[in-house]
Symmetry: C2
Subunit: 339 residues, 2 copies
Amino acid sequence: MKTKLEDIAREAGVNLSTASRSLSGAYGVHPDTRQRVLDIAKRLNYRPNRVARGLVTGRSQTMALVVSDIRNPFFADVCRGAEDAALEADCDLIVCNSDLDPVKQMRYIDSLLAKRVDGILMNSVEALSRVQQEQLAASGVAVVLLNRTAALKRFSTVAADNFEGGALAARLLAGLGHRATANLTGPRKHGNLTERTRGFVKTLQSLPVPDPVVQFGAHTFEGGHEMSKRLFAAHPEITAVFAANDVMAFGCMLAANELGLRIPRDLSIVGFDNLNVSQIVAPPLTTIHQPKYELGKSAMELLLRLAQKKDQEPEHRVIGVRLIERASCAPPREASAGD
Amino acid sequence: MKTKLEDIAREAGVNLSTASRSLSGAYGVHPDTRQRVLDIAKRLNYRPNRVARGLVTGRSQTMALVVSDIRNPFFADVCRGAEDAALEADCDLIVCNSDLDPVKQMRYIDSLLAKRVDGILMNSVEALSRVQQEQLAASGVAVVLLNRTAALKRFSTVAADNFEGGALAARLLAGLGHRATANLTGPRKHGNLTERTRGFVKTLQSLPVPDPVVQFGAHTFEGGHEMSKRLFAAHPEITAVFAANDVMAFGCMLAANELGLRIPRDLSIVGFDNLNVSQIVAPPLTTIHQPKYELGKSAMELLLRLAQKKDQEPEHRVIGVRLIERASCAPPREASAGD
DNA sequence: CTGAAAGCGCTAACAG
DNA sequence: CTGTTAGCGCTTTCAG
């Protein structure tokens, strides 16, 4: 039914291999012959079967991206950057949502390896057991991680300077006069988020300013919402919160609204990511900017290089962040009121 | 290097086909033999090569999703729904960002067909020429479209009731007393968005209320921003705008803020999609809700069915929408001030 | 420059 | 229940 190489070879009166060579643009074929083959291929609407080719070449021209959830706008940006880079190398991109679930993540990896993808770009590898990580490394696929705290040093990584981002938030809030602070962060195994927390806590300690109360939870809108409700109930003295990403910050804002807390009068909030929407929430969110699209793009470019030439040294790129000051932060009321 | 079926067959002292049968769980193999093979496979960390299997079975266990831009949270939601449904059927999902660019879209389709994906879920087919659509239909892949205005009736579709959504917006705004309205919409070829516009315009006319000024442009945050700046400059009399999706509405809100227009005092805005963030923008956005995740999931389930049994009648599902009233709409000032 | 032939790793008849 | 035998559609030596 589908026209195959054999059909066009027969039509052109040449051998299969000549047809193959003509189409793959290899040298060693007479221009006329080649043109003839090309014309016939076009006329017959020929589409080379890439899975057959893949079987012999061992490359699938397919990359994979494993993230916790594409609905987080951060990952959507990363995904777009990765996809654009992949497209330039004529590769397609499979996306997988792991929800940070070890079972799910391993299942995906198995499937990807079975399909012989050329490379895997992963949010994180922390959910995997040591043996699983070993297996992954042993499998030979190119891997690059989107965070730095890889248990195995052999994986390449590209990530934002999360520690510095947390530090930036700490300095801002402390500078404004906040002493009772909190931090909303993701699951303990989430490398990037806990790095931000570490930067925040360490910097506060160095200033010195009292330790923040840190809440671990789901790094989603809902997670931020839940954590905040609990936080405000247990710690009414809190005057500022640093959310380890913007969507958690949004959840926090919602919780604040529900309790009648005014931002930034009663509560200062700083996020992390600088999502597009963070400039139009109420009030516009002060946040740490990281170049999301570029991060995905850069990571995919590295992955493509790794997939091409094996046995390359792992590389570790860290990407700068910066503070974006908007309207969600102000000095604490107590500080000015002397209460 | 990688262990293959032959290795485990040799190790188990059975024939290749017996090994194959044991692993694929087919009937007709002695439980003991089967268990032995399974054990050896596990011990050797065997991963069946799915591309080899794909070559013989003709199925790749891979689906594709072609959207304009995954960074639009609407598509991220749809994508997640589609991915979850695909996962249940043991399929992976390739995602492609077309930017509604005909060349890019066709290039993706070519690549997907070459890889023999089992099905394609597409935002739209409007960007394709008639012949391209014919080719796609002739290729035999299962296709389902995420909008209803398919030029070719043979493609299945699942979409929200876009016309009704536009009508809902019209009735709300007209009921509030607005007479000078505008509509921000996407490119003319964008089926869903123009359908919303049609519902809006027709309903206004039936009320009757003066025709809105409709602006066509990029259906993105930036697009909404640009269109709004132009709109407010040319039509200062406008008191209400219906944006054909939430991200354009956000862009509109930004433009309004920049011009010092207060929402909803000076300007009412209604969006479409009911994105998560629309409840925390300033002010919370009145919008038309459509079940995004479910839409993607339902569409993928249909696609999976189509991919399984060929020659099935195309199916057309339309999913209900509803108005979510929040704080971005109010009666026009002129109406009450009598100006 | 072109042809013949040997696989890539797996499944699927068809026999036994 | 198990083994034998053909391929799936393409690339790639190796000869000519």
